[in-house]
């Protein structure tokens, strides 16, 4: 991002300004004619960069959509393990920091140094707050081995004994439902639609690890998780032995960490950028004539907020 900012050309470039009256605008780089041109260029550059960010995350959203469409039961099951309240608070924190960022731009535009610095510091604080909450969320899940890939299937060991193993005995009691061989030969390869009569009779949402969990597995889980043991934490930790856990649940956590992690990286980058312009604004670099860096970092920060606005419902709310 630093590089986008077209301001401040180092070393000797100013010597070659030819006939331009750049002295009026000390911040104007040598290859621009007017401040407006420089501002518009910076802004367009930032927007183009944001477009790449949209596609960057877009591919992840595509992956999310496909996985969800293929295994809805995984998502409705696993999203119960996320903490909606923490997520909600984090959303609010980001929105507020977006507000302070927008305010910062406003004050920069009006050459109000004091409020500008305060707003930037608040924004920075918001970013910190977001990360702290995220940290607690992550550790909570790590404790319960709600991780990606193989680690997800590691039973949580407490006092040398895997937690929840006894429950496994209950598992096989689940009533098996009808299942065919799931013959794929019943597929019309051109249209890919199953031919009606031979289509698999397994209700997909009911595919527990036994392959045949009863249809209302989800409710059973809620009962299991909250009512039966009355201990959400234990329910989280024994997920490996949970008969109602659908096949491939680890994928949910895989992409949860991918997407929120990538977003988190963006937050960290944002913190560096905000810190940088805070220093510069303390130095008094910005005023109504020149505030492009504040504006651009603002745009970046808003897109980080904007992406979270989608991540939040997709992972925490939809079930």
């Amino acid at each position: 991002m630093t590089a986008i900012d077209s301001h401040s050309t180092p070393h000797d470039d100013h010597a070659h300004d030819g006939g331009h009256g750049h002295s009026e605008y000390p911040f104007l780089a040598h290859h621009f004619e007017t401040p407006a041109q420089q501002f518009d260029s910076g802004k367009l550059g930032m927007w183009v960069f944001l477009a790449t960010e949209v596609l960057f995350f877009g591919a992840l959203f595509a992956m999310y959509t496909l996985m969800r469409a293929k295994e809805p039961e995984v998502f409705s099951f696993a999203s119960n393990y996320l903490d909606t309240i923490m997520g909600g608070i984090n959303t609010c924190v980001l929105i507020l920091s977006s507000l302070t960022m927008a305010l910062a731009v406003h004050f920069a535009q009006r050459s109000k140094k004091g409020p500008l610095v305060v707003c930037l510091l608040l924004t920075f604080l918001g970013a910190c707050g977001f990360l702290v909450i995220k940290y607690f969320e992550y550790t909570h899940k790590f404790d319960a081995n709600l991780k990606w890939g193989p680690a997800f299937y590691q039973p949580v060991v407490e006092n040398g004994k895997p937690l929840g193993a006894p429950e496994a005995a209950l598992v096989t009691e689940s009533t098996p439902a009808a299942a065919t061989a799931g013959s794929p030969l019943t597929v019309n390869p051109l249209i890919g639609k199953p031919l009606p009569a031979e289509a698999s009779s397994i209700k997909r949402a009911a595919m527990g690890p036994s392959g045949l969990a009863s249809e209302d597995a989800m409710h059973a889980h809620d009962a299991h998780g909250h009512a039966a043991t009355g201990d959400h934490d234990l329910a989280m930790k024994t997920h490996v032995y949970n008969a109602q856990m659908p096949v491939n649940t680890h994928r949910f956590f895989g992409i949860y960490y991918c997407m929120t992690g990538l977003h988190g990286i963006h937050v960290v980058i944002g913190m560096f950028l905000i810190g940088w312009i805070t220093l510069r604004s303390i130095r008094g670099d910005f005023n109504s004539k020149y505030y492009t860096p504040v504006d651009l970092v603002g745009l970046y920060w808003h897109i980080v907020d904007l992406i979270w606005i989608f991540l939040f419902p997709l992972f925490y709310l939809i079930h």
Partner: protein
């Protein structure tokens, strides 16, 4: 904003203070913000990578002289070599070659700007390229990789060779290098056009670079994320692409080709832009159908996003999507056809000088016609079922990538060589080099069409096990390998005379070919900030104002003859 008297020729006297001599020392190069120096650094790096990729190619070809096992190259080594060849050529050579090397150098000058919009971003792009290239080298040290340049899962997530993650990181970084170039070009074209340089005044090369930049911006992030996911899948098994963890390998192909199909147009569209320039300049003839060519670049950029599935006809992709993708694939062929015909029409009634760049441009026309037309076989559903993953595809994409995009790049390099270096190369050797490359190329790759349509699969180390076919295949492979040696000879000659010209070449005039666009109206090599004064632009394809100037041993643009710049200029026939 003073503009010089529009009718006087711009000052083209070579000056001692040009961008090459402006400052000295290694640091003044690697920390430069000058788009011209960055372009030159890119050019050198890309050519070095080309040499590397070419060496890998020759190893591959040499192995294929022998149908069976050879003691000096195992099957696994072969797999590494063609993978490295493909990856180096695609990610290190052809994608940055035209935009980042030649485009960087020429774009601001053609536009009449002092620099690109974000010089530091431009430098960052080059540094990222270096970093990416380092990662590729690093991956060689860490066990290399044998996945094919397409990195198809689950092979790439399970192969025992550990170079996959570093090379994928490298490609990720190279992706951002390419994105930064694209951002720069979009903003430069939008915001840094001087007065008078309207959109439809821009040289077509700029239209091409602009369209390319759009693709770079929109497609590359998807590759970046896909490759990161591949690395993450390989290390952490999150279950996206690897079926052993519940992933879907076909999804990887969708994501990969969502980038990599548009990427093939990142390679060819700027090449087409160069060809538009070379043909009009060396035929000294107004480009025919300017608007059609300009819009067809944009059309290609747009359509290129809709056809990625044509690489997946046999992958198990659903029949419905196959049909959709096939239908849209053909729509991409139309803008290309428009361009080919317009170039032909530009030759008509021109004043054609058969210089080395022009020879390359004609070779491009010849080879792109073959390469593009064979794309039709591949776009067609039932014939592609037969031809997919055979040497037919290999031949197709070498005709378009090597025979078209790379030839255009080499042609453009010759075209702007005098401008970049201030030296002329030997025309005689230039023509010899071009001819050898042309002949060698056709020998190498035309035979591969026959190999492919006869059923020879690609990425095959040995073909002695194919009873009834091995004999015929052997003959074709021998011709092919022979051709590649001829081609290599051509390139070596080219390298020699170009390097020679740096030291012994005649000083180049400002305008050796009779070009009309702005870069021919500033000295060779250009001064540090291109133009002392922002020039007024005329019609950059109006060659009637160009005339030979004995004194400078080059052409000059007599701006006083241009009615747009000088109201008193004599009216000419056939001009409106």
């Amino acid at each position: 904003m003073t503009t010089l008297d529009a009718t006087r020729p711009l000052d083209t006297r070579p000056s001692a203070d040009n961008y090459l001599t402006h400052s000295r020392g290694v640091l003044s190069w690697i920390l430069t913000l000058d788009h011209k120096r960055i372009g030159v650094m890119y050019l050198v790096s890309v050519l070095a990578s080309f040499l590397l990729g070419g060496v890998f190619a020759l190893l591959v070809r040499t192995k294929l002289l022998f149908p069976g096992e050879v003691s000096w190259m195992s099957a696994e080594a072969y797999n590494h070599f063609f993978t490295l060849h493909g990856a180096v050529m695609v990610f290190l050579v052809i994608i940055p070659s035209i935009p980042a090397a030649l485009g960087n150098f020429v774009l601001p000058i053609m536009l009449g700007a002092k620099d690109v919009a974000f010089p530091r971003l431009n430098l960052a792009s080059y540094w990222l390229w270096l970093l990416g290239a380092t990662c590729v080298v690093l991956s060689l040290l860490m066990g290399s990789f044998d996945t094919g340049w397409t990195f198809y899962t689950p092979y790439s997530t399970t192969t025992r060779f550990g170079g996959v993650v570093p090379v994928v990181t490298g490609a990720f970084i190279l992706g951002f290098s390419s994105i930064f170039t694209g951002m720069n070009f979009i903003v430069t074209v939008h915001k840094l056009r001087p007065p008078g340089m309207t959109w439809f005044r821009m040289p077509l090369f700029l239209w091409a670079l602009y369209s390319t930049a759009l693709i770079q911006i929109l497609a590359t992030p998807v590759l970046a994320i896909t490759l990161s996911l591949l690395a993450v899948e390989r290390i952490f098994h999150i279950g996206i692409f690897d079926p052993a963890w519940g992933g879907d390998p076909v999804l990887f192909q969708h994501f990969f080709w969502f980038y990599s199909h548009p990427a093939v147009y990142i390679m060819i569209v700027p090449g087409m832009g160069i060809i538009s320039e070379i043909i009009s300049v060396h035929a000294h003839r107004h480009i025919f159908g300017y608007r059609f060519i300009a819009f067809s670049s944009i059309a290609i950029a747009f359509f290129s996003f809709l056809v990625w599935g044509h690489h997946m006809y046999t992958s198990g992709q659903s029949g419905l999507m196959n049909v959709v993708f096939s239908a849209i694939t053909f729509s991409v062929a139309i803008p290309s056809a428009i361009k080919v015909f317009n170039w032909l029409a530009t030759l008509y009634k021109g004043s054609i000088s058969l210089t080395t760049p022009m020879l390359y441009a004609l070779a491009f026309l010849f080879l792109f016609t073959i390469g593009g037309l064979t794309g039709l076989y591949l776009g067609t559903l039932n014939t592609d079922i037969h031809l997919h993953d055979t040497y037919f595809v290999v031949a197709h994409f070498h005709y378009v990538m090597m025979g078209s995009a790379l030839i255009a790049m080499i042609g453009g390099m010759h075209h702007w060589w005098p401008k970049m270096t201030g030296r002329m190369y030997s025309e005689f050797w230039g023509r010899i080099g071009c001819t050898l490359v042309f002949i060698g190329f056709n020998l190498t790759f035309f035979t591969q069409f026959m190999l492919g349509s006869q059923g020879m699969p690609r990425r095959y180390y040995s073909y002695d096990q194919l009873p009834g076919m091995a004999e015929a295949f052997k003959t074709y492979h021998h011709i092919s390998t022979g051709g590649s040696y001829i081609m290599a000879l051509g390139f070596v000659i080219t390298a020699i005379y170009l390097i020679h010209s740096l030291y012994r070449g005649k000083p180049a005039p400002a305008n050796p070919w009779g070009g009309r666009s702005l870069e021919w109206q500033c000295p060779s090599p250009p001064p540090h900030d291109n133009f002392k004064v922002t020039p007024r632009v005329g019609d950059c394809y109006d060659f009637s104002v160009v005339r030979w100037d004995e004194a400078s041993n080059g052409y000059i643009v007599d701006r006083s003859l241009d009615p747009e710049l000088n109201p008193n200029a004599p009216k000419r026939k056939g001009h409106h």
